[in-house]
């Protein structure tokens, strides 16, 4: 094998075979990322779109402006609020659903699985429109149900305090099915004999879950956690369709803000700097999660 690798011809042919993929990655990924990086140090805007002599190199000005920009902080706060609440909630709901569907007591598993998975494959725009009705302050299903509990109607999407919770509830409902399927796969990979042995040793249900299911699910958990976190940090469509970031920017996520600055107002330079800040945040989040899970699950 080593001899083969040393063969020069082979090396070249390997490069040749790799080159289309590498070229595509270079042209469609690295170049744009590099261009965006350079752009984040300029004030590229609508005036400069076809007049490059109107571009100014402004160094770290965009990044400095970001730090001073209350809307950026607001969008950052909203995004963290969303990720921290919706992320774990979504994972917990998926795990519970998976545990229930994996239980031997449940019949018609396939139907339940299908039903829970349905929201995942439904177009988000259609879902958002239906949920706007559910959240309607006067005719909405949600307020109707709250009425039975004696709770006054809430203007879910119109009140700055309730708009984000409303979006969180909707996205958890929409997304838990996907993670649920992954958890079910993870659960089915846990060998039955572990449980049998533990039961013989006199373990109760909770001990089984704590000492077998959870550790055995750790790799799945890591995967689900990271993918969910990355996906949730990039939340965009939900507020874009449901609230356009309002009211009072209370559902403005960082990606939505980036989109707005870049493609709505053509502040490409500023928008690029937001993109890189988001990149750094997600990168850090992933590292922390890796370390964290390693420590817990070894």
């Amino acid at each position: 094998m080593v001899e083969l690798m040393n063969n020069k011809n082979l090396k070249y042919s390997a490069m040749l075979f790799l080159s289309p993929a590498l070229l595509a990655i270079f042209a469609f990924f690295f170049l744009p990322v590099l261009a965006a990086f350079v752009m984040s140090f300029t004030d590229f805007d609508i005036y400069s779109l076809n007049h490059l002599w109107r571009v100014r190199f402004i160094g770290f000005e965009n990044y400095k402006k970001l730090l001073d920009d209350p809307v950026f902080w607001k969008s950052l706060f909203n995004t963290f609020y969303y990720v921290i609440i919706a992320g774990p909630l979504s994972v917990i709901v998926s795990l519970c659903a998976a545990l229930m569907l994996n239980s031997k007591l449940i019949k018609f598993k396939a139907i339940f699985r299908l039903t829970y998975f349905m929201p995942v494959v439904t177009t988000l725009v259609a879902v958002a429109i239906v949920w706007r009705f559910i959240y309607h302050p006067r005719f909405g299903l949600f307020n109707y149900l709250l009425g039975f509990l004696g709770i006054d109607p809430v203007d879910w999407l119109g009140d700055p305090d309730y708009a984000m919770p409303a979006i969180i509830i909707m996205t958890v409902w929409k997304n838990f099915g996907y993670n649920m399927i992954i958890f079910i796969a993870g659960l089915q990979n846990i060998p039955e004999y572990l449980y049998e042995a533990a039961i013989l040793d006199g373990a109760n249900k909770f001990q089984l879950f704590r000492n077998i299911t959870l550790p055995m699910l750790a790799p799945t958990m890591l995967f689900v956690g990271i993918v969910t976190m990355i996906g949730f940090f990039q939340i965009f469509t939900e507020p874009y369709v449901m609230t356009q970031g309002g009211p009072l920017d209370s559902t403005l996520s960082i990606v939505l803000y980036m989109y707005r600055e870049g493609f709505r107002w053509w502040n490409m330079g500023y928008s690029a700097s937001i993109a890189f800040v988001l990149f750094i945040i997600i990168f850090l989040g992933t590292i922390i999660q890796f370390k964290f899970q390693k420590r817990i699950f070894g």
């Binding site: 004030d43 805007d45 609508i46 005036y47 779109l49 076809n50 007049h51 002599w53 109107r54 100014r56 809307v71 706007r132 009705f133 959240y135 309607h136 302050p137 006067r138 203007d155 879910w156 999407l157 119109g158 009140d159 700055p160 356009q244 309002g246 009211p247 009072l248 920017d249 707005r260 493609f263 709505r264 107002w265 053509w266």
Partner: protein
């Protein structure tokens, strides 16, 4: 495997062939982009144009309104703008600044069909930037007052309010009559800058100053307008937020609101919802004036037809613009999409004259003003004005601080413009 490869090769050649067809331009093909229903309607109108001009072919493409601006700018960046296209008239400054628009002064001067006198002056004005004409008004809109005649009558008014004072009084009276606290006399959405800008302009505010390089919202005029509107929110005369009414027409029909300010596209929907004995229970009226009884100014809205400055076929492109601007074609267009024609001749036709709901628009169109003509306006309006007006309405900020902060942010948005002007890097 071999079959797959063959298929692949065939596919590739097909793609190459179609690509070469596109670059291999035929002699007289005019590309036209229109938005939404307007684009669709043009597709039906051009047959007549093609008949009149043998050898000319018009390719019409429809682009959705919601993504129109992004699509047009991207098309411009990649050199793919069509020869002629529709442009919302508040977007003209942006595309003019990109050098994407052909200056039309010479064409208009030589034209037998198009002259400035045929258009409403306020609307024509939106297409003019520093003496250059960059678009020909196509269809127009402006905001007027829609109201429930019966609700106003119950409150003791036989006609629509004609001054700010009257409007407020009407609203208070209606509120006192209606028992349901979910019913509001007027709907002024908080997520819409236009109401605040309209009332500001009525009070005489100039919005931006010094050749549109500084914000001027912290002016007594604009402050007066904001304070006036704030009274409606504070006294429960209009709902806060915008989700309270998913369907404004239904809310009107069910009596949840008695008045709202909006454009001509509502007429059709209102007719649909106000059926049976509600049929004559609504009306439109020009907006009230600030001080005296009369007509207050409103926005000069609508779309223009513009020519791509890079078009290889400007002569025929202009012919298409002239064709679409003919009063007879404008009338046909009106019948198809209900957009109000820009040509005043078309307004003489009985079908428009007889429609009592359109009358208010005719009156209002003689009292319209364009918003500041700078590329930054949309951004200022949607992301700055709207935001601070929301802060004021939700009482998170006092009027004084909000307007001061608004000016600060607007000034920073306009910093680039000031720099460009100072260094002579802007096309004047």
């Amino acid at each position: 495997m071999k079959k797959l490869l063959l298929l692949f090769v065939v596919f590739q050649t097909l793609i190459l062939l179609t690509a070469s067809c596109v670059t291999n331009k035929e002699a007289d093909v005019i590309r036209f982009w229109g938005m939404g229903v307007e684009g669709e309607a043009v597709g039906k109108l051009v047959a007549e144009f093609e008949k009149e001009n043998p050898g000319v072919k018009v390719k019409v493409q429809m682009i959705p309104w919601t993504a129109a601006q992004e699509k047009l700018i991207s098309a411009y960046a990649s050199g793919n703008l069509p020869d002629v296209f529709q442009l919302g008239n508040t977007w003209i400054p942006q595309f003019k600044e990109l050098d994407a628009l052909e200056k039309l002064n010479g064409y208009v001067l030589d034209s037998k069909t198009i002259s400035q006198d045929s258009y409403f002056p306020g609307i024509w004005e939106t297409n003019v930037i520093q003496d250059g004409i960059y678009g020909i008004p196509w269809y127009i809109d402006t905001r007027v007052l829609f109201y429930r005649v019966d609700d106003l009558q119950k409150a003791g008014y036989s006609s629509a309010p004609a001054s700010w004072k009257e409007l407020y009084e009407v609203a208070r009276k209606i509120k006192s009559i209606k028992s349901d606290k979910n019913k509001y006399p007027i709907f002024l959405p908080t997520n819409d800058w236009s109401v605040f800008v309209i009332f500001g302009m009525q009070a005489g505010a100039d919005l931006l100053t010094n050749d549109y390089t500084y914000g001027h919202f912290n002016s007594p005029e604009f402050k007066r307008a904001v304070n006036y509107l704030l009274k409606f929110y504070k006294n429960g005369l209009t709902p806060k937020g915008f989700t309270a009414f998913n369907n404004i027409y239904q809310a009107m029909a069910e009596g949840y609101i008695s008045m709202f300010i909006s454009g001509p596209w509502n007429i059709k929907e209102m007719k649909k919802w106000m059926k049976g004995n509600l049929k004559d229970k609504w009306m439109t009226s020009p907006l009230p004036a600030a001080d005296t009884n009369g007509i207050g100014v409103s926005l000069a809205g609508g779309s223009s037809i513009v020519m791509n400055s890079q078009s290889g076929n400007k002569h025929t492109a202009w012919k298409l613009i002239e064709f679409l601007s003919r009063p007879t074609i404008q009338l046909k267009f009106f019948r198809m999409v209900d957009d109000l024609p820009a040509r005043r001749e078309a307004w003489e036709s009985p079908e428009i004259k007889r429609d009592k709901f359109i009358k208010a628009f005719f009156k209002q169109l003689n009292h319209v003003k364009p918003v500041p003509k700078v590329p930054e306006w949309e951004r200022i309006a949607f992301s700055k004005i709207q935001k601070y007006m929301e802060y004021i309405v939700y009482e998170k900020m006092s009027v004084e601080t909000a307007l001061k902060k608004l000016d600060e942010e607007v000034n920073s948005v306009l910093e680039k413009r000031r720099w460009l002007i100072k260094h002579g890097r802007i096309n004047e």
